[in-house]
């Protein structure tokens, strides 16, 4: 059984002039536990909407979303929130660290919504997770004193501290330079693999997408598998289309 399964999902919003904007059209996607999937697409193609639906922050207009065998449409808002906290970890482009809190407090923040031992041991768990992302010596540092790469590491530690089954990364390297971005993606890959979490990365960076086992392209709300470049070729954006280019 797939970990998550979108079938023929659409998402439409009504515009102020009463026209309908179809953000997603018939999206079908299946992701298994531990799998690394990437979705590439230019700005405004519906990537974030797809991520929000996957992360239970938004709901499809039509179509079905089954998470671990449970149709999400049948869950109450409260149950969706709980599953979001327990099953998903988010990594944002702008890191979205909580201001005024140390790195440790930021990583511990999701555990405020956990129950039992995870809540009571939140500081220790957060410290362990910061150690795993190589920031064991920066636990008491405020986010504004950290570099971009370090901030994203804190965000990754925060996304993983509740041991989610799915990591949703929205342009995780968008605010980083190429070298730091590659380093952060390597870390994300490693930790996701260690915890057997599925990693779904949404990006417009083809090199980031290339790290995934399965790659998709989202254009005009339609999700299609990305055609593999022939051996010896690299994939580049040509207009709105990722295209295999000879070296």
């Amino acid at each position: 059984m797939a970990l998550l399964e979108l079938t023929d999902v659409t998402r439409s919003v009504r515009l102020p002039d009463d026209r309908m904007l179809h953000v997603l059209r018939g999206v079908t996607l299946t992701v298994d536990a531990g799998e690394h999937v990437s979705v590439v697409g230019r700005s405004g193609t519906g990537k974030s909407t797809l991520l929000n639906i996957l992360g239970l922050l938004d709901a499809p207009t039509t179509g079905s979303y089954v998470l671990d065998g449970i149709p999400i449409g049948r869950l109450s808002a409260r149950a969706r929130s709980r599953r979001r906290g327990e099953d998903f970890g988010f990594v944002f482009q702008q890191f979205n660290l909580l201001p005024g809190r140390t790195a440790l407090e930021n990583v511990a923040a999701p555990l405020m919504y956990a129950r039992g031992r995870a809540f009571w041991r939140r500081m220790r768990l957060a410290e362990e997770m910061l150690g795993r992302v190589g920031l064991g010596d920066r636990v008491d540092t405020m986010p504004d004193k950290l570099s971009g790469g370090e901030q994203q590491r804190v965000a990754i530690a925060r996304a993983l501290v509740r041991r989610p089954r799915v990591i949703l990364a929205d342009e995780p390297t968008g605010a980083l330079d190429v070298e730091t971005g590659a380093e952060v993606m390597g870390l994300l890959d490693d930790i996701a693999a260690q915890t057997d979490a599925a990693l779904i990365a949404i990006t417009h960076d083809l090199s980031v997408a290339a790290r995934a086992q399965r790659r998709y392209r989202l254009a005009d709300g339609v999700l299609t598998p990305l055609v593999e470049a022939p051996v010896g070729h690299r994939t580049e954006w040509v207009g709105d289309v990722p295209t295999a280019v000879a070296p």
């Binding site: 929130s81 979001r84 999701p110 129950r115 509740r162």
Partner: protein, 403 residues
């Protein structure tokens, strides 16, 4: 359980991080709670002071003053001793715990300035308890003093000065009585009631009788003392009736007057209480409005943070409760600060100096006022947190994350 604790912990964290705005918002709340608690406590102090001062004159609540007068002119009235015996029988029969004879007289004394008559008050040891007598030096009479062979006296400061003494380190003595004076020892000194008060002295009734201390034999025979008895206020009417009935029967041909010493000692009641509470409530309301204002602004600044928390799995109920709790926890802390402030102020203010008299029984800290202030502060916090909490819940998560 974890949910409640985590919500409180989260609220506390928020307050810790936004402490400057919280402090600004909560000054009004803390001041209001401090005012409510402090004014109530001060009023209780004042009430107790008035009560004690009043009781120094009229006796503790409820002191009954019993006066007997010969009624009718056909027969010769009985001697004063007959009235005293009737009093003693009454006190013994009803097992009155605190009772004292009380009689004003002119005491002949021999001072360095010569022989003179001074104002004398003939009492018993219980008089000191009933009238809250607090000697400034030495002590008041004890029951054992009545059995001493030589009399003891308690005098006022003027009397002591006229004796040529300044303190009781070496107990001064004074000759009391008319033709056959007796040497009395001064065991205590009470404060003058006003400046340049005349000399006065307390003597025990037993000693007064034994040594015939009155200015004349006639006065000794006919000066009838009053009786003061301290009874539970609830029994006042019952005891008054019994005293009237029994004394009239014990000493026929006698008029019995019984006067209660009741008074309303409440300084802060009725309209004044409502004015004080109204001012406190108004201050609390202003504090609450300030808190509401700052909370609303803060929630708008924190929309992104609320969105991030929703991504952590925070339910809308939890977000609502969290924002509400921030306000409640803040006002509870402010209320506690207000109470501590009130305690500190009340401890620092020298009430005995301000009120001009020492308190025998300082009233306890008004816990009920502190609790009322805290409850009101918490309620204001909940009300002030309600609107921001609703705003926080209405935030669209997707928009909030991108805010």
């Amino acid at each position: 359980m974890t949910g409640l604790v985590s919500a409180v912990v989260e609220a506390w964290d928020e307050l810790r991080i936004h402490k400057v705005r919280v402090l600004l918002a909560l000054v009004g709340v803390a001041v209001a709670v401090c005012a409510i608690t402090g004014i109530t406590a001060a009023a209780q102090m004042l009430t107790q002071t008035v009560r004690e001062q009043s009781e120094r004159d009229g006796g503790r609540d409820l002191t009954l003053t019993v006066n007997l007068y010969p009624a009718g002119a056909t027969e010769a009235p009985p001697p004063a001793a007959a009235y005293v015996d009737a009093y003693r029988d009454l006190v013994e029969r009803y097992e009155v715990e605190y009772a004292s004879l009380d009689m004003w007289t002119q005491l002949p004394v021999r001072l360095p300035e010569g022989r003179m008559l001074v104002e004398g008050q003939v009492v018993e040891a219980d008089y000191g308890v009933i009238h809250r007598v607090q000697p400034v030096q030495g002590r008041w009479f004890t029951d054992g003093d009545a059995a001493l062979y030589a009399p003891t006296v308690v005098v006022n400061e003027t009397f002591l000065r006229m004796l040529g003494a300044t303190d009781l380190s070496v107990p001064p003595t004074v000759l009391l009585g008319g033709d056959e004076p007796v040497l009395a020892t001064v065991v205590g000194v009470v404060a003058d009631r006003w400046s340049q008060e005349s000399p006065r002295a307390f003597v025990l009734h037993a000693q007064y009788e034994r040594w015939q201390l009155a200015a004349s034999a006639e006065e000794m025979g006919w000066n009838i003392p009053s009786l003061r008895i301290w009874v539970p206020p609830a029994m006042g009417d019952e005891v008054t009736d019994a005293v009237r009935r029994d004394l009239a029967a014990a000493v026929p041909g006698t008029q019995v007057d019984v006067w209660p010493s009741t008074a309303d000692f409440s300084v802060l009641d009725g309209g004044a209480r409502w004015v004080v509470l109204g001012i406190g409530a108004f201050t609390l309301l202003l504090g609450g409005l300030g808190l509401l204002n700052i909370s609303l602004v803060t929630v708008r600044y924190r929309i992104r943070e609320i969105g991030i928390r929703r991504s952590f799995g925070a339910t809308s109920g939890r977000v609502f409760f969290g924002v509400l709790m921030e306000s409640v926890v803040a006002t509870v802390v402010a209320g506690a600060v207000g109470v501590v402030l009130a305690v500190a102020i009340l401890s620092a203010v020298p009430f005995e100096v301000v009120l001009g008299t020492p308190l025998q029984e300082p009233p306890p800290f008004p816990v009920s006022a502190a609790v009322t202030g805290m409850v009101c502060a918490t309620a204001v916090g909940a009300l002030a947190g309600l609107v921001p909490a609703v705003v926080a819940v209405r935030v669209k998560v997707i928009d909030a994350i991108r805010y």
